[in-house]
Amino acid sequence: MMVTPVVLSFLFPLMGTLVLAFSSGRLGARGSSVIGVGSVGLAALATLWAVLSHTGDREIITLWTWISVGDFQPTIGLGVDGLALVMMAVITGVGFLIHLFAAWYMTGEAGITRFYAWMNLFVFSMMLLVLGDNLLLLFLGWEGVGLCSYGLIGYYYQGLDNARAAFKAFVVTRIGDVFLALGLFLVFMELGTLDIATVLTRAPEFWAEGSATANLAALLVLGGALGKSAQVPLHTWLPDAMAGPTPVSALIHAATMVTAGIYLIARLNGLFLLAPDVMLLVGVIGAISLLLAAFAALAQTDIKRVLAYSTMSQIGYMFLALGVGAFDAAIFHLVTHAFFKALLFLSAGAVIISCHHEQDMRKLGGLWRKLPVAYGGFIVGGAALVALPLVSAGFFSKDEILWQAMAADRNGLLIAGLLGAVLTGIYTVRLVLGTFHGEPGSDHARHPEPGTNLITHHLPLVVLAVLSTFIGAWLYPGLGGLFPDAPGEAVEGGHTLLQVLAIGAVVAGLALAGWLFLMRRPWLDDVASKGAGASLWKLWHHAWGFDALFDRVLVRPWQWSVRMLRFDFINLIMNLPALIARGFNAGLVRSQNGRTRSYAVVMVFGATVILLALALVPGGVA
C-alpha cells in the first residue's frame, strides 16, 4: 500500500482511535488529549502535503478490492481531486482546531479517552466519506460518521435525554442512509457499477434526461443527503443533537457531518443534472429549511439551539445553491460556513464553560467585558454569519449563492434567500445582545471564569476568527473546473444589482434587530407573551411542530405496536395442535369408566357392526 500523503491523512486518526480505544484507562486525561489532538494535527499536515503535491487531475489510489463477485467489484479506492482536497482541508484543519479547543473544554470531564477515541474515529470516517471513489466506500464513511455522532451526542450517557437524543439522531440519519442505500442498489442495477467516475460517465448514456430512473436515482440520493444534512423532512435530530459537548456540536453539527449531504450531491452532480425537476426540488427544500430554521432560531432560549437552527438555515443556503446548479458556490459557502460556525460554536463553548454549563440566554448577559475573547469570536463569527459586506467571508459566499440564484432566474429562491438574510441578521443580533449585553441573569453570569490557556483556548478562536474574515474567502481555490459551469457565467449584467439587494437586506436586518432589541425591548416582550404573539413564539420555539408531528405519526404507533406485539401472537397459532390434542384427550378419557359390563357392551356393539357389514354387503359371505 503506497504511503502517499492521502493515505497517511486518514491513517493517523485511525491509529489515534485504535491506540485510545485499546488503552482502556491506562492513558490519563493529558495523554489521551495529546494523542487525540496530535493524530488530527498530523492528519492536517498530511492533507497540507497532499494539497501541495496535488497535480490537478483526479488521481485514484486503489488499496484493495473489497468484494468481487461476478460484476459486483467495489474497491477500497481513494479518489483525490480538488473537491476531495478542499473537504479534507476543512475536516482536518477545522477539526484540528476543534480538537485543540476540546482539550480545554473537556478538562475535568470523566472519560476523555473515550471522547477522543470517538472524535478520531469521526475524523477517520469523514475522511473516508470524502475520499471514497466508490459509492460503497462512501457509504462506509457515511454510516461510520452516523455511528460516531451517536457515540458523541450520547457522551454524557448518564442523562436519559442525552442518550435518547443520540438514539434519535442515529435513527433519523439511518432513515436517510436507507434512501441512499436504495439509490445505490438502483444505480448498480441500472449502470452495473458503483465507481463514481464511471457512474457519472454512464449515467447520461443509459438514462435520458428527466427519465423516470434518473429522477428516482436522484431522488433517493437526495433522501440520503437530507438525512445527513438535517434538511426539512429529516431535520428534527439536529436541535436535540446539542445534548453532546460543544466541541462535538462544532465539529459534527457545524463543520463536517452536516455538510456530507452537500458533498454527496456535489460529487454526483452528473446524476442531478439528468433530473432537472429533482434539482429544483433540492433548491426548494433548501429554501424551505432556510426559512423554517431562521424563524425557529428567533424563538430559542438556548445558545446552542440558536446556532443549531442557524446551521440548518445556512445549509439550506447551500442546498439552494445546489438546486440552481451552482455547485462551486455551494462548496464555497460550505467552507466559509465551516469556519465561522465552528468559531461561533467554540465561542459559545467558551461562554458555557466560563458560566459553569449555563446555556440559557435569559440567565446570561453582561459578559462582554468579562469574556473578551469569546465576545470577539461571537462578533466576528456573527458578522460572517450575517454576511457583513466586504469584511466577512460569509458575504462573499452567500452573495455568490444569491447571485447564482438570480442568474438562473429562480426568483422564488432568490426572495427566500434575501428574507433569510434579514432573519439571520435579526437572530444573530438577538443572540449577541442576549448573551453578552444587558444585565447578568444569574450569579454564574455575574462572575464567570474566563479561559486563560493560550494554546487550547485563545489559539483556535483567533485562527478561526481570522479565517472567518475575507481572508477565509480569499483562501478558497475556485473549484469551477470540476463542476459543470454554473448559471452565473452565462449572464453578464445584474451582479451589482444583486449585491445592492443583498447588502440592503443585511443592513435592514441589523437595523430592525437593533431597533427592536435596544429601543423597543419591553414592547417586544409583552407582544411575545400575549395571545397571537405567544402562540407564534411557541410555534417557532418548537420549530413549527415537526417534532410533535413525527412523534404522533411515527413514534407513538411504533411504541404501541411494540407493546401490542410483545405477546407473540403468531406463536399462538403454533399452540393450536397442542390444544386439539388436549381436547381429544378430555373426550376419550370418559369412555374408560372402569365397569367391565360397559366394555362388554362396546365389544358386542363392535362385533355386531362387523357382522352387519358382512351380512349387508352383497356377496360378502360367498
Binding site: S591, G594, R595, R597, V601
Partner: protein, 102 residues
C-alpha cells in the same frame, strides 16, 4: 318328515348364543355372567355338532369335545375369580370392582 334341515339347527344355536350374550350384558352379578358365558359356549358347540352331523364329518364332534374342555377350563378359572371377587368386595356385583377407571 324327511330330516331336519341344517338351518334350523344353526338358528337354534344363534338364538341360544344371542340369549347368552344378552344375559352377559344384562346381569350385574358375576355368577349370571359366567352362566350366560357357558350358554354361549354351549350354543357354539351345538353349531359344531349340527355341522358335523349335516356333513357327516367326525371332525365337528372332535371340535365339540375341545369346546367342552375349553368351557370347563374357563368355568373353573371364572369361578375362582368369582370367589376372590366375593372375598374382596363381599358381593358379586361387577360394577363394584371398577378401580381401573381412566
Amino acid at each position: 318328515m324327511n330330516g331336519i334341515p341344517m338351518e334350523h339347527g344353526l338358528i337354534l344355536a344363534s338364538i341360544l348364543f344371542s340369549l347368552g350374550l344378552a344375559g352377559l350384558m344384562l346381569r350385574r352379578s358375576m355368577l349370571f355372567v359366567l352362566m350366560s358365558l357357558e350358554v354361549m359356549l354351549n350354543s357354539a358347540a351345538l353349531a359344531f355338532v349340527v355341522g358335523a352331523t349335516a356333513w357327516s364329518q367326525p371332525d365337528g364332534q372332535a371340535m365339540f369335545l375341545l369346546v367342552i374342555t375349553l368351557a370347563a377350563a374357563e368355568a373353573s378359572v371364572g369361578l375362582a375369580l368369582m370367589i376372590q371377587l366375593y372375598q374382596r368386595y363381599r358381593s358379586l356385583d361387577l360394577d363394584a370392582a371398577s378401580r381401573m377407571r381412566g
